[in-house]
């Protein structure tokens, strides 16, 4: 277990890199929207996991979609990681959370890596690269860095690239962040939980797995050539859900011996067995966004019996860091287990 002081330092490292403090709000994924829905497990889900929400009964779900950037400025059209935090509400009043982002792999392996990354990938002034520098890039068969977005004056891109150049384990995650783009809709992106979890099936069979949400509407990003719009994702989602529900398939990939079980920087091959665990149907954006989007507090280690966290050090660190962040911003406490008085 990562001790409380480390969890506080993790949160502080994130806060220190914000353009300005955001008291009472999340330090990253600050801008978000809460949505209601229901999850129905597939016929086969229960044969892989005994967790209540995989038994086939319809389960209420709270989802919060978010932009990855920290801070109060909303830039929906910027290339950025998006988040999809989901809580499956269980019968006894507890919940099971699944926190996913559009990033397929993380960029650090453990807490030490994260602190070193935070030191290198600080916000720096970000300016348009001059035309002759870009011409030099083209002559070297390099792709010049993107132009700054309107009103973008600072970025962590250069620092993150410096870190990636020194650490091969981080290259995939950081490269993916660079190309991630902006979705046309929160309902048109795939979200990956990056960490490995252990699920227990009937007969106490345990399997290492990774989860992903896949949009039934398909993945679609905005065009890179379009001028990015700052605010469209919330209204798009409200409009979409007024017309028709949005659906996501929950896919579960089963790892094999030899796969990276405790390292979120390493992908698993596409040749692993993949199970369709169920369908999430999003129906409504609640009026009370303070409760549905802001006070609600997720934690990737809040898991129903039948699902366990792996020994992934980043996942372990998130357990404490999310609670510290919740306390700092006054987020809503939530019972972890039926016998948990919290």
């Amino acid at each position: 277990m990562v001790d409380a002081s480390v969890a506080k330092r993790l949160v502080q490292a994130i806060i220190d890199n914000l353009p300005e403090p955001v008291p009472g709000r999340r330090p990253v994924h600050t801008i978000g929207i809460g949505v209601k829905g229901k999850f129905v497990a597939s016929d086969v889900a229960r044969t892989y996991c005994i967790a209540e929400h995989f038994n086939g009964q319809s389960v209420d779900v709270s989802v919060r979609f978010s932009n990855g950037l920290g801070g109060l400025e909303q830039h929906d059209g910027w290339s950025d990681v998006r988040g999809m935090a989901a809580r499956f509400h269980l019968r006894d009043g507890t919940g099971s959370d699944l926190i996913a982002t559009t990033l397929g792999e993380f960029f650090v392996r453990n807490v030490d890596d994260f602190f070193k990354f935070s030191e290198v990938a600080k916000r720096e002034p970000y300016e348009r690269r001059r035309w002759w520098q870009k011409l030099g890039d083209l002559l070297q068969l390099k792709v010049p860095p993107r132009n700054p977005y309107p009103n973008e004056t600072q970025s962590v891109d250069a620092g993150a690239l410096r870190y990636a150049n020194r650490h091969r384990f981080s290259q995939l995650g950081i490269f993916q962040v660079g190309l991630i783009g902006a979705p046309e809709s929160y309902a048109r992106a795939s979200y990956h939980a990056v960490h490995t979890f252990w699920v227990t099936g009937p007969g106490a069979v345990r399997r290492p797995v990774r989860f992903s949400w896949q949009p039934v509407a398909g993945v679609r990003n905005t065009k890179l050539t379009d001028v990015p719009r700052d605010k469209y994702l919330f209204e798009e989602l409200k409009d979409r859900l007024r017309r028709w529900p949005a659906r996501f398939m929950l896919m579960m990939t089963i790892g094999e011996e030899g796969d990276a079980l405790d390292d979120p920087t390493k992908p698993w091959p596409g040749t692993r067995i993949r199970i369709a665990m169920g369908t999430l149907t999003l129906t409504e954006v609640p009026e009370d966004q303070d409760a549905a989007g802001e006070r609600i507090s997720f934690n990737p280690c809040r898991l129903a019996p039948g699902i366990e966290a792996s020994n992934d050090p980043i996942l372990e660190a998130r357990l404490g860091a999310y609670e510290v962040s919740r306390e700092v911003r006054g987020g809503c406490p939530f019972r972890w287990r039926p016998d948990d008085a919290k």
């Binding site: 397929g104 792999e105 348009r128 001059r130 035309w131 870009k134 011409l135 890039d137 083209l138 002559l139 070297q140 068969l141 390099k142 792709v143 010049p144 132009n147 700054p148 977005y149 309107p150 690239l161 990636a164 150049n165 020194r166 650490h167 091969r168 384990f169 290259q171 995939l172 950081i174 490269f175 001028v227 990015p228 089963i254 094999e256 011996e257 030899g258 796969d259 992908p267 091959p269 596409g270 040749t271 692993r272 067995i273 993949r274």
Partner: protein
């Protein structure tokens, strides 16, 4: 997008999207950088792996340039396949580890694309045993094929010949392609290293110069992780 851009900024942003720039770069910059920073061809076929899931539904993308590069050469190849259809299907049934297989003519190449279970060398060895005669008929129409036919008498040379014509399978993730290059060059460095990720586009261009034909990604599988035997058993199709 930003308001401070001048005419030259706009021109340089637009330049790489133009056909003219791409053509000029292909004729000048690519050969120049290929000389300055040579890149070796990456080997074809699936990456060696001990893990079970990596050893089922493997892909073979065999591209074999025809000797006679004309409709006559292509017709000869088509005829060689058509005349041996029964032999090929019976052989594939006997091999027993093949999910899908097809012959395709692309340009002046006869291609065999297949998805199989198990080890590549055993897969080809099984083919030699079951439809070696058909391979001989096809391979004799292919550049360099006479050196390895009859395949029944040149088993190891034939396996190597096929492997050299099996396409390099670009990994699903861009940075894993860099790991393939590093492995080929014997670079086993660990952190901290001194890479330059901005060179990835050039490295990709030069690799695609060295490996002109490649398989993009590991391919989609509707039911990954299952062998032919498991699928047939589960579906009650017999064995």
């Amino acid at each position: 997008m930003p308001s401070n851009e001048g005419l030259l900024d706009r021109i340089v942003d637009w330049l790489p999207t133009t056909l003219g720039f791409k053509r000029v770069a292909s004729w000048t910059l690519v050969p120049y950088w290929a000389r300055r920073t040579p890149v070796k061809p990456l080997p074809g076929g699936p990456h060696p792996s001990f893990q079970r899931g990596d050893n089922v539904q493997c892909m073979m993308n065999l591209i074999m340039p025809l000797k006679i590069k004309s409709p006559i050469g292509r017709a000869e190849a088509a005829l060689a396949i058509a005349q041996n259809k029964d032999t090929i299907y019976a052989g594939l049934n006997n091999v027993g580890t093949v999910h899908f297989a097809r012959f395709v003519i692309v340009g002046d190449n006869i291609c065999m694309f297949s998805v199989y279970d198990g080890d590549f060398t055993n897969y080809i060895r099984d083919f030699i045993a079951t439809i070696g005669e058909v391979f001989n008929e096809v391979v004799k129409l292919v550049e360099g094929g006479e050196k390895v036919t009859p395949c029944e008498k040149n088993v190891e040379a034939f396996i190597q010949w096929v492997h050299e014509r099996d396409l390099y399978q670009v990994p699903d993730t861009a940075t894993d392609f860099l790991r393939d290059q590093e492995a080929l060059n014997g670079d086993r460095a660990v952190s901290p290293v001194d890479d330059d990720l901005t060179l990835l586009p050039r490295k990709l261009v030069l690799q695609l110069r060295a490996n002109a034909n490649v398989s993009l990604g590991n391919g989609y599988r509707a039911y990954p992780g299952f062998s032919v035997a498991q699928v047939r058993k589960q579906l009650g199709l017999g064995w």
